[in-house]
């Protein structure tokens, strides 16, 4: 494995960043620092050693972490970011991922790294082209190497078999190996159309990663030089405007197909299509597979289950019209926070109560300013959403919102979830919006989703990270907590006086989730929610630290390199991806958040695990306590009646 190139990068700004030497480290500590650095510097990149460095020797609550942070932060940055990214990759391959999972992960960590300034694997010469990571996989996870190569569309697997056509695009093996997996996919799509096939080949369909329409995907992913060659090739095939038919070249398709495709596009848009639009038009769109994600792999349904409701009169009967959505949202909100229902002008107790996270959320949502207005109202709406989710929370940092009518800092419940409940209970929209008792029942049905998105995702997580001044990043542990705490809320309700009412409305999935947390605690619920293919906390942490360094480097270059220039290019579009856009103040603010995030997230993970288990213990005890109380009560009654004396 090659010696890495980031040392040069580090040296640019290390002088100004360097704090006093690590004179106060003990001999043993110095050895640990050296070992964790050596794992990177000498190109060993051992995942086991990396894991030991990140999870044991330099875990945030270890004395050495704190000491090195004070004495030699450069070394700590260096150890955490590179060992962190190796740990993450090692954890991925240690799990023996299935082949398609490898392609999806490579798209995330290799292809996307092209656009990121903080590309750690690029520093280690393991990205962005997949061939760069193969030696490491071969060394540590050789069993996965063949699958990784196949899923990476290597020249041998995917390029050579279509070399003749690729030659028309000026693509040979050397050029192929410079391309990322997404680029290879897009070029194969173009090749398929030129070759006159209507369906995409198995190399692509066995693990379909295209998440937009084929024309857009090709437009976004075919490199410009190859696109130019494709344009030139098409010009050779396409007869002059107005002409049609006739063979054009030995390897190309019938040029009439181009003319036919263009005619379709022109009829639809009034304009001629460009080359990629023509190529996209040539496929049989019915055969384009769904993107290979977990939910696409639909297993066979249980035989006893009746077929799902079909669109038609029966389904329409239980549709919730768009003009009723605000009323339903307002009524559900009243049931969560307490207040008077507009349906019967009677008060409702808040459902958000009885557990620490709900009490905290209720206080948060109902706090009022001096003017009597809520300081942070529950922004809640019912929306049409994807059929794969019950609801969502759009975090505060998503300033552009999370879709139509879904602004930052708001939560939404899927309209389909409500309609499924209406259908099951044979409740029409008219009845629902006029019968307060039916609305009470719906509130109990939506309760778990509301706790999941509001008290947990918004208040306990987003507000927590905001209060700490650090970013709220997507990590699996947060999702596990949302499922765990929301079903413990349900458990609390089932133990309480309204237990039978909540039990009646609980979904089977909620009960199944509750069982997972009761049987396995945090670990059990994390296993349960693994279908979320989110990056673990270590990998996110490593990337964060790399971004920190990139920001520091840019600030240093502004000060020391006159040719580099100090003026920010576009402060309104400042981000980690284009730090040159940022002002010094913006960069300073961003860099100052990186370490606090790492420490906050790692220690939060630990405290949340303990908190969930403590809450579980409490709910279990409460459950058995109520049994004991019940037994005591029965005994008292028997004594009063003169029984058992």
């Amino acid at each position: 494995m090659k010696k890495i190139s980031y040392l040069l990068t580090l040296s640019i700004f290390s002088v100004s960043l360097a704090l006093p030497a690590a004179a106060e480290l003990t001999q043993e500590e110095t050895t640990l620092v050296a070992a964790c650095k050596a794992n990177i510097e000498d190109g060993t990149l051992s995942p086991k050693e990396a894991e030991k460095c990140v999870k044991t020797d330099f875990f945030p609550d270890s004395p050495l972490f704190k000491k090195l942070k004070t004495e030699d932060q450069d070394s700590l940055n260096y150890i955490l970011k590179y060992n962190g990214v190796i740990t993450e990759l090692g954890e991925f391959f240690r799990e023996k991922p299935e082949e398609c999972h490898i392609r999806q992960r490579f798209i995330d960590v290799l292809d996307e790294s092209r656009y990121q300034k903080g590309c750690l694997l690029c520093d280690l010469q393991m990205a962005p082209q997949p061939e760069k990571v193969f030696p490491w996989i071969g060394k540590y996870y050789n069993g996965s190497l063949q699958g990784a190569q196949k899923m990476s569309l290597t020249w041998a697997n995917a390029g050579a078999p279509r070399a003749a056509m690729l030659n028309n695009f000026s693509v040979n093996q050397a050029r192929w190996q410079q391309m990322t997996i997404s680029e290879r996919t897009a070029v194969i799509m173009a090749e398929t159309a030129f070759a006159g096939r209507k369906n995409y080949p198995p190399e692509l369909t066995s693990c379909w990663i295209v998440d937009e329409d084929p024309v857009s995907y090709m437009r976004h992913n075919i490199p410009q030089d190859i696109l130019n060659a494709i344009e030139a090739y098409k010009a050779r095939l396409m007869p002059p405007a107005g002409a049609a038919g006739g063979k054009a070249g030995g390897t190309g398709p019938d040029s009439s197909r181009f003319a036919a495709a263009n005619a379709k596009i022109k009829a639809a848009t009034g304009k001629d299509g460009d080359t990629l639009a023509l190529l996209g038009e040539m496929f049989d769109k019915n055969t384009i597979p769904a993107r290979k994600v977990d939910t696409a792999d639909k297993p066979k349904p249980a035989p006893a289950k009746p077929p799902a409701g079909k669109p038609g009169a029966a389904a329409a009967k239980y549709e919730l019209p768009v003009d009723k959505l605000p009323l339903v949202a307002a009524e559900i909100k009243t049931r969560m926070l307490g207040g008077t229902s507009t349906l019967d002008n009677k008060p409702r107790n808040p459902a958000f109560s009885g557990t620490p996270w709900e009490d905290e959320a209720l206080k948060f949502y109902t706090a009022k300013g001096k003017d009597g207005k809520p300081l942070h109202d529950l922004n809640f709406q019912v929306l049409p959403m994807a059929k794969t989710t019950n609801g969502g929370y759009c975090p505060q940092h998503a300033t552009d919102g999370c879709g139509k009518d879904f602004p930052a800092g708001s939560i939404a419940v899927n309209k389909t979830l409500i309609e499924a409940w209406m259908k099951k209970n044979k409740v029409t929209a008219e009845r629902l919006t006029s019968d307060p008792k039916l609305m009470d029942r719906l509130g109990r049905h939506l309760y778990v989703v509301m706790v999941h998105e509001g008290p947990v995702h918004e208040v306990r997580q987003d507000q927590f990270y905001i209060s700490k001044g650090v970013d709220n990043k997507k990590i699996l542990d947060k999702e596990a907590m949302a499922f765990g705490l929301s079903t413990l809320s349900l458990k609390n309700k089932l133990n309480g006086p309204e237990g039978a009412l909540y039990r009646r409305e609980a979904s089977e999935f909620d009960l199944k989730t509750l069982k997972a947390v009761e049987n396995g605690g945090f670990r059990g619920i994390k296993e349960f929610v693994r279908y979320y293919d989110l990056q673990g906390v270590q990998g996110v942490g490593a990337k964060t630290i790399k971004q920190l360094e990139y920001g520091l480097k840019d600030m240093e270059l502004r000060k020391t390199d006159a040719a580099y220039g100090a003026a920010p290019r576009d402060p309104a579009n400042c981000s980690w991806y284009v730090v040159r856009n940022c002002t010094d103040e913006q960069l300073l603010s961003m860099t100052q958040k990186a370490y606090p995030w790492y420490e906050t997230a790692i220690t939060r993970q630990k405290s949340e695990t303990a908190m969930l288990n403590a809450a579980l213990e409490q709910q279990i005890n409460q459950s058995s306590l109520s049994k004991r109380l019940k037994a005591k009560k029965i005994k008292e009654l028997r004594e009063l009646n003169g029984e058992g004396l």
Partner: protein, 186 residues
């Protein structure tokens, strides 16, 4: 109950005779060296080391490749200092508790068994999975689960298996192979 017993009777001869194909196996050593077992080489493995140490619940979850829902096997050691399950009896009672269960779930009879010369308890359960999860109208998939609880001098082991009913025969053969190779160290 009758249904689940009938299902098991149907499965048993094939499993015992080793008719179903099983994948290549490799050795797994648990964090803390609390057990070893031979596990399928091509199954996905998830070992929660940090959370496991914190919760005193050590082990690995295994998933059959390329299937949703997958066949899944968990091999877990509960330490004597586990915050909730101080005894294997309490854990067993929680697993078998049918309160707030799903309609159609059936917990099978508890029987004695032996794993690597250790006395153990085992039972089966018919239950369901919901695909996609957290969705308004998921498919309800019938699942078969099997649990094997092995008391230890300190703490206890819980080996479990789950699979969609249609794939249970094939996955049970793998689980049986794992259980046969399971070596508790406590």
């Amino acid at each position: 109950m009758i249904k689940i017993l009938a299902l098991l009777m149907t499965l048993a001869p094939a499993v015992c005779a080793g008719e179903a194909e099983t994948p290549a196996m490799e050795k797994f050593v648990c964090d803390g060296n609390v057990f070893t077992a031979m596990v399928p080489s091509d199954w996905e493995k998830e070992e929660e080391i940090i959370a496991g140490r914190q919760e005193k619940q050590y082990g690995v979850d295994l998933y059959s490749p390329g299937e949703k829902p997958a066949g899944a096997v968990s091999l877990i050691y509960f330490g004597p200092d586990h915050p909730r399950f101080k005894t294997w009896e309490k854990y067993l009672a929680t697993l078998r508790d049918t309160k707030d269960g799903i309609q159609g779930e059936v917990v099978g009879k508890l029987t004695d068994t032996v794993v690597n010369n250790r006395y153990a308890k085992t039972f089966d359960k018919k239950t369901f999975a919901f695909i996609p999860p957290y969705a308004p109208e998921p498919e309800k998939i019938e699942m078969l689960e099997r649990y094997v609880i092995i008391p230890a001098k300190k703490g206890f082991y819980a080996l479990s298996f789950k699979s969609p009913k249609g794939e249970a025969k094939r996955h049970l053969a793998v689980f049986e192979k794992i259980v046969k190779s399971f070596k508790p160290a406590r």
